[in-house]
Assembly symmetry: C2
Homo-oligomer: 325 residues x 2
DNA sequence: CTGAAAGCGCTTACAG
DNA sequence: CTGAAAGCGCTTACAG
């Protein structure tokens, strides 16, 4: 790869000024003689010219790129979030660049501090830890356009778009009770995120005696199989489980089935994210319907300035076989 | 957000030249009087200065960022690939920006054409389609540093780092035969990628009568449950299945267990990627050991110029309970 | 040890 | 319709 071809090279080859070449290629100013335009196009192809992103961004003061910072792209919920942003932005020639904080406050801090090195117009972030994530996000928000998605960090002055987790818990508990389930366990991650905290609090309020919260280290299939083991070894098995991440539900389900437990006959299982995963297991999993598209839409409106306030999305239950009455 | 604070603002506030301010902040030239350095640091904090990525990249002609273009971050195999690149690059102050082509040649083409708009030093790509992906990748390779990872596109002149898929198939078939399995089915995606083709070809060569290939549209849990349904409805059930993606294996496993089939007693199951997923199911899945780290290491060496040729990684079998003899 | 000046590669207001 | 010139915000070779 020799020195990269610049716009000047193209202009020289086409026998026009860089101004004219730029006008042709950026497609902004259509007032160029057709013949010149053609020569510029030809030279572009001939030389294999590609615009320099840094120069363009420096001049335009905008990049068309948005950063999305999530705890784990391996979590299907966040994978679907990424995919939805891609779809929405692709359609208008913009793009999302994804950063995985690996569920680590330290990694998140490092990557946010490093955000200067990436050209983005805004940063969308799902904070790892309600308190621990706050300083780095607040610092970033002082100089960048920041929107909190799915979760919030304590006291950060940036709009937030997320699910009403407490309402979600109340809806699922209600649904399970209507099916006659009384001994419900909530399986969640350790309450580091705002979302986990809100759910645990709501669950403790609404669930009565015999309802407990089981907190696993992370959202993973492994947490699901571990939770299944713990539940089966406990003195009194619950008659229903709510898992707050589809990937955890999956681990629970395979472990239950491996142990010969029938879902929903022996134990009901409800999940939370509503990713595609929840619909393709056997049996299908009752879940809160996915709000990924609402989150994406509202957060992009904030980025684009057509919306100024955050949004708390109200959940709905999507009933499938796993909680069959 | 008012006008962004520039280096010049910091310099003015600190009463030094932009040259000196730059020397302090870029940390390159330590020959600055301690007192001046201190004033610059103070002004930086005071004003909330953050370097402009575009200006820096334009001047330095390098960004420290690498693009990784994968078919689906929702696939745990690619999620682990992303995570591994992040780990390796983070350690040296560089970063990976991830692009999801959504298993679509059209989306891949669009995003590669759009790569000009993102500042990256190199592009690592796992092509969606052996033939269909070739033109866009070849065009990109003419102007960018490109490395093909995990898969290749036909006739593209860019180094490739990937698993020896044929060898992997041969090893797994051999392992299953040693356990007395004779009627083996290979469950793979439609042979659009180079990897799927290599596997199908190797399987047809090594597997005998009664061994068939079942090709599903995509790598997903849903493909796994569908495959299970198809196999159970077929006239003669196999006694072993090789799934070429862990996420497909997972779908198969839950569907088998839901149907009351025991793994491995009734049917053996081997998988391919060796992601964390394969180790946390019940039973654990026999798999090829993960080669993600080898792929990451070699591909980064190529990017950094300490390696010039591609690499075909030789697989190893990791035996777990799902193929128990 | 410090700073004035050049230049990375674009785009666009301005003059013609 | 076209082009010369300015300037986006940095970094560094050069001169002092």
């Amino acid at each position: 790869m020799a020195r990269r071809v610049s716009l000047k090279d193209v202009a020289t080859a086409a026998g026009v000024s860089p101004t004219t070449a730029s006008r042709v290629l950026s497609g902004v100013d259509r007032n160029v003689a057709p013949e010149l335009a053609e020569r510029v196009q030809a030279a572009t192809v001939e030389l294999g010219y590609r615009v320099n992103a840094a120069a363009r961004a420096l001049r335009l003061q905008t990049t068309g790129s948005i950063a999305l910072v999530v705890p784990s792209v391996a979590n299907p919920y966040y994978a679907e979030l990424v995919a939805s942003y891609s779809r929405h932005l692709d359609a208008e020639g913009r793009r999302v660049v994804t950063f995985d904080t690996n569920d680590s406050v330290e990694s998140e801090r490092r990557q946010l501090a490093d955000m200067d090195r990436v050209m983005v117009d805004a940063v969308l972030i799902a904070p790892v830890d309600h308190e621990g994530s706050a300083p780095a996000i607040a610092a970033l928000a002082a100089t960048h356009a920041v929107v909190q998605v799915d979760r919030i960090a304590a006291g950060v002055d940036a709009p937030a778009v997320r699910l009403d987790n407490a309402a979600g818990i109340r809806l699922l508990v209600e649904h399970l009770r209507e099916g006659g389930r009384e001994r419900i366990v909530l399986v969640d991650a350790e309450p580091r995120s705002s979302a986990s905290r809100e759910r645990a609090e709501a669950f403790r309020e609404v669930a009565g005696l015999g309802c407990t919260v089981l907190q696993m280290p992370t959202f993973s299939m492994h947490s699901g199989t571990e939770a299944a083991r713990i539940l089966r070894e406990s003195a009194d098995m619950p008659d229903a489980v709510i898992c707050t991440a589809d990937v955890v539900s999956l681990g629970l389900l395979t472990a239950f089935q491996h142990a010969g437990l029938r879902v929903p006959q022996d134990i009901a299982l409800a999940t939370f994210d509503g990713t595609a995963l929840s619909g393709v297991t056997s049996p299908g999993l009752t879940t809160l319907d996915s709000v990924v598209d609402e989150i994406v839409r509202a957060s992009l409106e904030i980025v684009d300035g057509t919306r100024t306030t955050g949004l708390l999305v109200t959940p709905r239950v999507l009933v499938r076989e796993s909680t069959g009455h």
